[in-house]
């Protein structure tokens, strides 16, 4: 087993983690950054260092700009441990991980959790069939392997990433059979309340308009305001059925990409026993921190999308702010407030559009809380919505108890892919707010490790 000691240990090589590492290094702190992938970049800038020029062209400027951050990180003097799967984080700053079949320990005076976001589950009938994936997953295939759909693809759901992927596919010459948009039309009215903020983020708005114009130009069939989505097929996806303008529509599909936004990946922060609260605007859990991102009185900080969804640019700024606060605690920075002020202004600018986006692309209740009892909620242990409702009738109070009732959340994903659905399903059935039903008790090891790896 290897052990390394540093002023600052960072988990996650996305924008927040890389920017935090750069900031900390600029104040002379020793930095170790751990990431599960071999290469830096996180999901948003995955493969950006090695992407050939035609792939950079297809993915667009907002992706290519990631190279500024990856090259700054590479020359920062921070130590990068790639392929490191973190399985335990202690509140005193100890991080246990495995890499290349052997185990390691990184002990930091302070630790930053920058574990990013994951796609929100999309629990509808048939979503477990082979050939159904997240749109973000398909984008990862494009970034990491240059892979494109072989035949016409169907995209369904809502949110900026869905339209962005469609635009990237069209630029790469891939064919889109249909875009099935689930955005609630009344959401436009609700979102209008936040239009002032959105105008401050006019660049993001203009980007969105450009993407939609490209879809029209390529004559991609776009179905708006769709409801009652169900995946068809027995052993693999064969199509998607949905209701559009009062009519039932069916489109054939061998590859169906679902997406309805991203949510914080909170597995690590939950596992430390830290407090979390329900974010009613973003419909997800978020860790409770101080303004700098510190979890209670621990040595742990959280920054970026794993703290609440803010996007890549704001995540980088938030990472810097957390690193500054830590540098100040270690005595390396004496004028914290003066240094933080311009970053805080940047953060507000980058997040001004967020309330507008959260409101416009609020995933429909029916796509988060399955009304169809046959929908699988826990994919690993194959527990349905009807079963979970039945557990509540029998006295089940929250997600943690569903484990005892029917192994819900006890499979290999450790609740990552059903936790939010189970929380909202139980809250809805009991008629209480999500904060009252709580979440699974997440315990280390938060990733599977073998005894063999622990002995090496």
């Amino acid at each position: 087993m290897s052990e390394v000691v540093a002023d600052f240990v960072v988990i996650g090589a996305g924008p927040a983690g890389m920017a935090a590492a750069c900031e900390a290094r600029s104040h002379g702190l020793s930095v170790v950054l751990l990431d599960e992938q071999a290469a830096i970049g996180g999901q948003i800038y995955r493969g950006v260092e090695t992407a050939p020029s035609d792939r950079l062209e297809v993915l667009g400027k907002d992706y290519a700009v990631g190279r500024d951050l990856t090259s700054a990180f590479c020359s920062s003097g921070a130590r990068h441990v790639g392929g490191a799967t973190v399985w335990n984080v202690s509140t005193d700053g100890t991080v246990d991980y495995v890499t290349n079949g052997s185990s390691g320990k990184a002990v930091g005076k302070y630790v930053l959790i920058a574990s990013g976001a994951m796609e929100r589950p999309f629990p509808i009938r048939g979503w477990t069939l082979p050939g159904v994936m997240g749109a973000g997953a398909a984008q990862i295939l494009l970034k990491g392997a240059g892979a494109l759909p072989s035949g016409p693809v169907v995209l369904a759901g809502c949110g900026p990433l869905l339209y962005l992927l469609a635009w990237q596919y069209l630029r790469a010459g891939a064919s889109i059979r249909a875009l099935v948009d689930t955005t609630d039309r009344s959401a436009h009215l609700h979102a209008a309340r936040y239009v002032t903020g959105a105008l401050l983020g006019w660049r993001d708005l203009a980007k969105g308009i450009k993407l939609l114009a490209a879809l029209r130009r390529h004559r991609v069939p776009v179905y708006s305001g769709c409801t009652d989505l169900a995946v068809e097929g027995e052993s693999r996806v064969e199509g998607l059925s949905f209701r559009h303008g009062g009519k039932l529509v069916q489109v054939p599909a061998s590859l169906l990409l679902l997406h309805q936004g991203v949510v914080p990946n909170t597995q690590i922060s939950w596992s430390t026993g830290s407090a979390h609260r329900w974010n009613a605007e973003q419909l997800c859990w978020q860790p409770v921190t101080d303004v700098w991102g510190r979890l209670g009185e621990t040595s742990l900080y959280v920054a970026g999308d794993s703290r609440a969804i803010v996007g890549a640019q704001a995540s980088a700024v938030q990472g810097r702010l957390a690193a500054l606060a830590i540098a100040a605690r270690l005595g390396a920075v004496t004028d914290l407030d003066r240094r933080a002020a311009p970053l805080q202004r940047d953060f507000r600018r980058h997040t001004s559009i967020r309330p507008f986006l959260d409101s416009l692309y609020r995933p429909r209740d029916e796509n988060r809380i399955p009304q169809d009892g046959g929908v699988l909620v826990c994919r690993c242990e194959e527990v349905t919505a009807a079963q979970i409702r039945r557990y509540v009738e029998l006295g089940c109070q929250g997600p943690n108890q569903t484990k005892a009732f029917g192994r819900c959340g006890m499979g290999p994903c450790q609740g990552r892919f059903c936790g939010l659905t189970v929380t909202e399903l139980i809250a809805g059935t009991r008629g209480v707010p999500p904060d009252e039903v709580g979440y699974y008790r997440i315990r280390p090891p938060i990733k599977p490790v073998t005894l063999g790896e622990l002995t090496r």
């Binding site: 082979p130 997953a137 392997a145 240059g146 693999r236 690993c380 073998t450």
Partner: protein, 110 residues
């Protein structure tokens, strides 16, 4: 088991290739990509069947959170194939139901 691939990787994107073996069949794939990406582009539609209902499953998230892409790699069952890069000569087997610890090669543990 293998069929028309859902994803294709253009030749222009490939610098170097390696050969992996999936259920006894050789597959030439681009170097540097994940096992999951290689199998999806190689025509593997379902990676395993579930422990509870024996239902077919394939990768969903491609970033290590959904655990749907679990597959046996070089004798070790239930590896997250979206997180493991391909290596020349790698032997991969699809999993039917629960991983069988009795026949699994746990040599690396000893």
């Amino acid at each position: 088991m293998t069929t028309e691939a859902l994803f294709s990787i253009p030749h222009t994107a490939v610098v170097k290739t390696v050969t992996i073996i999936i259920d006894g069949k050789s597959l030439t794939v681009p170097d540097g990509i994940s096992v999951a990406a290689a199998l999806l582009a190689g025509g593997v539609r379902d990676f395993r069947s579930t422990v509870v209902g024996k239902a077919p499953r394939a990768p969903y998230c491609m970033m290590g959170v959904c655990f749907e892409c679990l597959i046996e790699i070089d004798g070790v069952p239930a590896r997250q194939s979206c997180l493991v890069p391909v290596r020349d000569g790698m032997r991969i087997r699809r999993q039917d139901g629960a991983a069988d610890l009795v026949t699994a090669n746990l040599g690396d543990v000893a």
